[in-house]
């Protein structure tokens, strides 16, 4: 009895959490006038909405921009972040604790405070309307450092010492020894940084004005809020779908890693 209740609740939950996406998928293939109808299935499947999206806005370009920016940011956050995490976890040096607390502090200051000054800094460097403005300020990520540090701390000292005896420099130790042992943490940190950066919309709205360098979420936002969709709903939903698909794909691919490591590291946050 309890099981039936549990299952029906879970299925209801699935409907609630997944149906809107299903609806959006169907609606983007529907002829425009049918979208408001209750029946989710299209009477005929059409690519019209998608066609409008691709002709109205350079969404392919925006996708590439997002890929460029987010992959660079993620790689940078992981590389430099693990360097910092390694120094904080496994090396002894003066000021180590001070730096760690400083990094914690930076996580507390909301982006609100930094938004305007960061913008003027970027203007001063001449990085508006360029990928540099999107990448450079976010090349380091405190959350990634925290996650990696937590994982590095658990690596037995002996392994590192053995590598040192073999004559490895700290750099080689980090990338050849520590990294392979920390794959779950790297994946977790990587995914968190990736998703956060991919979905970021406020910063691109502020820094990028020219269509040439807009990121995908930014472009879809402006498409929906501005008049680009020519007053049609189908293209807006199609654009939103296109925006969501890469992330959903990546998520489904990595989800086992991600959910399990999120569960184990999440509590200590």
């Amino acid at each position: 009895m309890k099981k039936i209740f549990a299952y029906s609740a879970l299925v209801l939950g699935t409907v609630v959490f997944a149906y809107p996406f299903v609806w959006m998928l169907m609606a983007s293939f529907k002829p425009e006038l049918e979208i408001g109808a209750l029946n989710p299935l299209p009477s005929r499947w059409t690519w019209d909405s998608f066609a409008l999206v691709f002709t109205a806005i350079p969404i392919g370009r925006a996708f590439l921009n997002s890929v460029l920016v987010t992959v660079t940011v993620t790689a940078s956050a992981l590389i430099f972040g693990s360097m910092a995490a390694y120094a904080l976890a496994k090396l002894q040096w003066r000021g180590r604790d001070v730096v760690f607390n400083l990094i914690l502090f930076t996580m507390m200051v909301p982006f609100l405070v930094m938004l305007i000054p960061l913008y003027t800094l970027v203007v001063g460097f001449g990085w508006t309307d360029s990928p540099a403005g999107l990448i450079v300020p976010f090349m380091m990520n405190a959350t990634a450092v925290l996650i990696l540090r937590q994982s590095f701390v658990t690596i037995p000292q002996d392994i590192l010492d053995a590598a040192r005896i073999d004559g490895c420099g700290e750099g080689r130790i980090l990338f050849s020894v520590v990294w392979p042992l920390s794959v779950p943490a790297l994946v977790t940190a990587g995914i968190i940084v990736f998703i956060g950066n991919w979905n970021e919309v406020l910063w691109p709205l502020v820094v990028i004005r020219s269509e040439h360098w807009m990121t995908m979420p930014q472009m879809v936002t402006l498409f929906a809020v501005g008049g680009g969709a020519e007053g049609k709903l189908g293209p807006q939903l199609a654009a939103a779908l296109l925006l969501g698909v890469p992330v959903i794909g990546a998520y489904l691919f990595f989800q086992r890693h991600f959910i399990s490591s999120l569960a184990s590291t999440g509590l200590k946050g």
């Binding site: 003027t120 203007v123 007053g231």
Partner: protein, 440 residues
């Protein structure tokens, strides 16, 4: 990684950086051209396809006739708004020689940044303008320092678009002219088609989000009509016709109280799908409707409603786009020659043909050059008739904030009816004064 030395200097110069750019000498040396040297100009036009086509045609004509001055046209970098793009270009020093997509409301910011060239310094400015633009309209584009920095190029007057079939079905024989007539028509146009107790068709629709630019086409347009052609400022001072303002708020209040306009956000075009019978819009809509309307969609245009006791010509809001020459230009004389070409009789005809938008030119309907166009495009006629009775926004700084204040009052008094129209006018006036004070 930066060396500490360079980083310190960078930090020290950071704040001054933009300051330096902004205070840079705005008039770079004019190149002295020798005989046979070709001058190259860059010209930015608007992003939309019609204006790009127009610009390409005009530039081709010019380049063929003027081998010594070759113009390269580029659409304004598409982005959130062309105003931001232009300001950014001014700050960064990357402006073109001239552009024709300038919203008059942003001119004051351009002037403050020393970004635009004083056009009235050209000797033939006055004679050119007088032959094209009526004096009272032209005066509205003069900057507070008495100099003209912009040429009025084209305008999009706002009128009432109506669905002829829906009007026929509702039994409306005469087009509404006054507020009461509009109300009467609206009552007939708002109908419950499928008997579910809920309206399915409405008289009209306005997006009720309190965004500053939405109110240009409803409150502001009707205010200009109700006040007989006044705007919000006069000679740099706040001067609102409060009676007119209250009448406009009252009008919309009645509209929303009777639910003649729905309180929702349509994500699709309601006029196309037949959900609403009218729309406040401009001539750009003609091209769009021709492309996107379902077959058999019949529509017409009529002037915006005016207060019942109003007498006089029908004024309305004109969404102007003007031409400026940027102060960064190295060839002001040549840029001026090209600008003159852009507002010549022939270019204005091209403007009509390609974009169906109205050049700011007197005598459009009497000049035989344009007769053929209006014969073929009767729907554009009403706009040309009203073009010289339009008013744009005042060229004051912080215009967006002022319109935002109005949008707030509109929402409060008309849409949600939290207080009276008189109160709304009073509060709008108070806030506009405050904003003007803060920002001057």
């Amino acid at each position: 990684m930066m060396a500490a030395h360079r980083r310190n200097i960078l930090l020290a110069l950071q704040g001054a950086c933009v300051l330096l750019i902004a205070s840079c000498d705005p008039a770079p040396p004019v190149e002295v051209m020798g005989e046979g040297d070709v001058v190259h100009l860059t010209y930015w036009c608007a992003q939309n396809p019609q204006e790009r086509a127009l610009a390409t045609q005009l530039v081709e004509t010019w380049n063929a006739a003027n081998p010594d001055v070759q113009v390269q046209v580029q659409p304004l970098p598409a982005g959130q708004s062309s105003e931001e793009v232009l300001i950014a270009a001014i700050v960064a020093g990357t402006t073109p020689d001239l552009s024709s997509n300038i919203w008059p409301g942003i001119i004051s910011d351009f002037i403050r940044a020393d970004g635009v060239y004083p056009l009235s310094s050209f000797p033939d400015f006055d004679s050119l303008m007088m032959s094209r633009v009526p004096a009272d309209l032209l005066a509205r584009f003069r900057a507070p320092d008495g100099i003209y920095y912009q040429i009025p190029w084209k305008t999009n007057p706002i009128m009432l678009l109506y669905n002829q079939q829906l009007f026929r079905e509702a039994g409306i024989e005469q087009l509404p002219r006054t507020y009461s007539e509009f109300m009467a028509a609206a009552a007939r146009l708002t109908r419950d088609l499928d008997g579910d107790g809920h309206m399915d068709q409405w008289a009209g629709y306005r997006r009720t989000h309190p965004i500053w630019h939405e109110r240009r086409f409803d409150y502001y347009a009707l205010y200009i009509g109700a006040s007989g052609g006044k705007t919000l400022f006069d000679e740099g001072q706040v001067r609102i016709d409060t009676a007119a303002s209250t009448k406009v708020f009252s009008f919309f209040r009645d509209v929303y109280a009777h639910h003649y306009f729905p309180l929702t956000t349509f994500q699709t075009s309601p006029i196309l799908s037949g959900k609403v019978a009218t729309e406040f819009t401009g001539p750009w809509q003609i091209g769009w409707l021709d492309e996107n309307a379902p077959p058999g969609f019949e529509y017409g245009f009529t002037p915006l409603p005016v207060p019942d006791d109003y007498e006089g010509p029908a004024y309305t809001f004109g969404d102007y786009k003007n031409i400026v020459i940027f102060s960064n230009t190295r060839h002001p004389e040549e840029a001026w020659r090209f600008a003159k070409f852009l507002v010549s009789r022939e270019a204005d005809l091209q403007l009509l043909e390609t974009t169906k938008q109205i050049p700011v030119r007197q005598g459009l309907l009497t000049d035989s050059l344009y007769a053929g166009f209006f014969a073929r495009n009767p729907k554009v006629r009403p706009f040309a008739e009203v073009a010289l009775y339009t008013r744009g926004e005042d060229g004051v700084s912080s215009l967006q904030e002022i319109l935002d204040a109005i949008a707030q009052q509109f929402e409060a008094a008309a849409v949600y009816r939290v207080y009276s129209p008189e109160e709304a006018t009073r509060r709008a006036l108070a806030r506009i004064r405050l904003i003007h004070e803060w920002n001057s």
